[in-house]
Amino acid sequence: MVGDRKKLMSSINKKKIRYFIPLFLASGIIIYTIFMVVPILNSMFLSFYTGEGMSTPTEFVGFRNYIRLFTQFPFKDRFINAFWNNVKFFLIVTLIQNVVGFFMAVLISRKFWGNKIFRRISFLPVTLSVLVVGFLFSLMLNPVWGIFDKILEFLRLGFLIRPWLGSTTTALPVIAIVISWQWMGEAILFYMAGIDGIDEEVLEAAKIDGAGPLAEIRYILFPSLLPVIGIVTILIFIGDFTQFDIIYAMATTRGNPTYSTDLFGSLFYRVTFQSAERGGWGMGMGAAVATIMFLIVFIGVIFWLYIFRMKGLKDKEGA
């Protein structure tokens, strides 16, 4: 009986089922390929053409766009400027989200009444659009309405007041803090999931051995949460090196003041989709910028896979 059943199954598997596989896969592969994979490859292809206007590539120019981007004024200056701004932006956001996110998650994960409410509140800003958050904080920080400055005065910290978004030294860090504020909930969420995954017994044993809260963080939480630090950081990396909305909302597409907040995202938009008077460089140059952004994200992800994932896989194989 069992043998018959197996034979029957294998004959069904061989004949009928195969026919449906391409059918089930087709819609997904077609849409994903045509509207995501091909456009990204197409952008790389286009970076070797002039492509001045909206129309199809005009003339093959080899690496000329890249050479201009790396060596000529004003391309090089804008490009290098956006690169370093982006690195700074990424480092500030990574530092704030990992440090604050980690400690908030450690606090929230303690057993006490109401800890779930804190988790829910922390995640609320993540659901808002980056654009709305950017506009909202511009209004709060601007000197006309100036609610932030008024709060500082109320706290007797009035001496700290400065033109937050108007000065080249403060604008970029302030915008980085705003983005960190918005996405903190996500970091906390990931850290809490990581803490939930730690074996209760290990924590109990540490307590019995007399480990204080700091030792617990240093020797148990921190090492077991390293992969989470990796996930949070790579998500910030991908998000920040393509970030556009927050710059648009808080510093316009020019990265005001005087390009001090210009990131790759705003540079890409401005040079590709705006007219020459407003900073446009044509599609070919824009495609070169997009390709470099792709390479940066790609290298970042490979680096992350190498450090965090490969190690994880090896551990799994060993076990």
């Binding site: 029957l8 995640f123 609320l124 909202l136 994200v297």
Partner: protein, 279 residues
């Protein structure tokens, strides 16, 4: 004595730190919502607290000067349609990948998953050209198609793992009863898949509803605008009219805030699942 005191102290310290944190998170959003209900004068004379006089003037003006109903309708059409197709398309593909053996299966799986780490934004030039060729420039259909393509990698990622966990015996006994493969998918897999489908839908909802980049590139006519694009343009146009601007920002946020308050548990579950799959 010292033993009973210490936990109490740390506990109150935790409460204090978390309360300060909760206020910094909550207050700006609260401020946005209450300011939208204040009269223009009061926004400056009484900036922090609840309004003395509640008014809907900002919202009424917003509905008068713009076609907000249309932007809202467009955003709903785009979000609902693209999420629906993401669910259908990625569950079909995941079913094939999870339940059948065929040549190139691993490759196809990783081909889809690769989309998780490459931002679709970097293909914008190619997308723009394709949409112009297909005569879909300045049409919300283009947005729907892009969001479907954007959502497939995450959908396949979550659903493939989930379908793998469904015991093969269920499908096999149906096969013996003469059930066809599409029927197995529809009658057996889909009903069991519902929690995972909900997670995929919820996780896609936020970036699709809030997307500003693609409407900015692809939409020109007023009748095709979505809420985020309209928000940006209205903000630029009425920057000095605070009552109106706060109504604009609140209108863009209220749907997601309400949605989140109702479904916060599912939101948190879905996002956590996304980050920790394949660990």
């Amino acid at each position: 004595m010292a033993r009973t005191k210490k936990p109490l102290l740390t506990k109150s310290l935790i409460y204090i730190i978390l309360s300060i944190y909760a206020v910094t998170i909550f207050y700006p959003i609260f401020l946005m919502l209450i300011t939208s209900l204040k009269e223009n004068k009061e926004i400056f004379t009484n900036p922090y607290g609840l309004p003395h006089v509640f008014t809907l003037d900002g919202y009424i003006k917003l509905l008068k000067i713009s076609n907000y109903g249309i932007y809202f309708r467009n955003s709903i059409i785009v979000t609902v349609t693209s999420i629906f197709f993401i669910l259908v398309i990625s569950s079909l593909a995941s079913f094939a990948i999870a339940k059948y053996r065929f040549f190139g299966k691993r490759f196809i799986y990783f081909y889809f998953i690769a989309g998780l780490i490459v931002p679709i934004k970097l293909g914008t030039i190619g997308i723009l050209q394709t949409m112009i060729k297909l005569h879909l420039f300045d049409n919300i259909t283009s947005l729907i198609i892009i969001y479907i393509a954007m959502g497939i990698p995450f959908g396949v990622f979550i659903l493939t793992d989930f379908i793998r966990l469904i015991p093969e015996e269920l499908s096999n006994s149906a096969r013996i009863d003469g059930c066809s493969e599409p029927r197995i998918f529809y009658k057996i897999i889909v009903p069991l898949l519902q929690p995972a489908l909900a997670a995929v839908a919820i996780v896609n909802f936020i970036p699709i509803w809030n997307d500003f980049w693609f409407p900015l590139i692809l939409i020109r006519s007023d009748s095709m605008k979505t809420v985020p694009l309209a928000t940006a343009l209205l903000y630029g146009q009425y920057e000095t009219n605070f009552g109106l601007i706060f109504a604009v920002l609140s209108m863009a946020s209220l749907p997601v805030i309400i949605f989140y308050l109702i479904l916060s548990r599912q939101f948190i579950k879905g996002l956590t699942a996304g980050a920790f799959k394949g660990e």
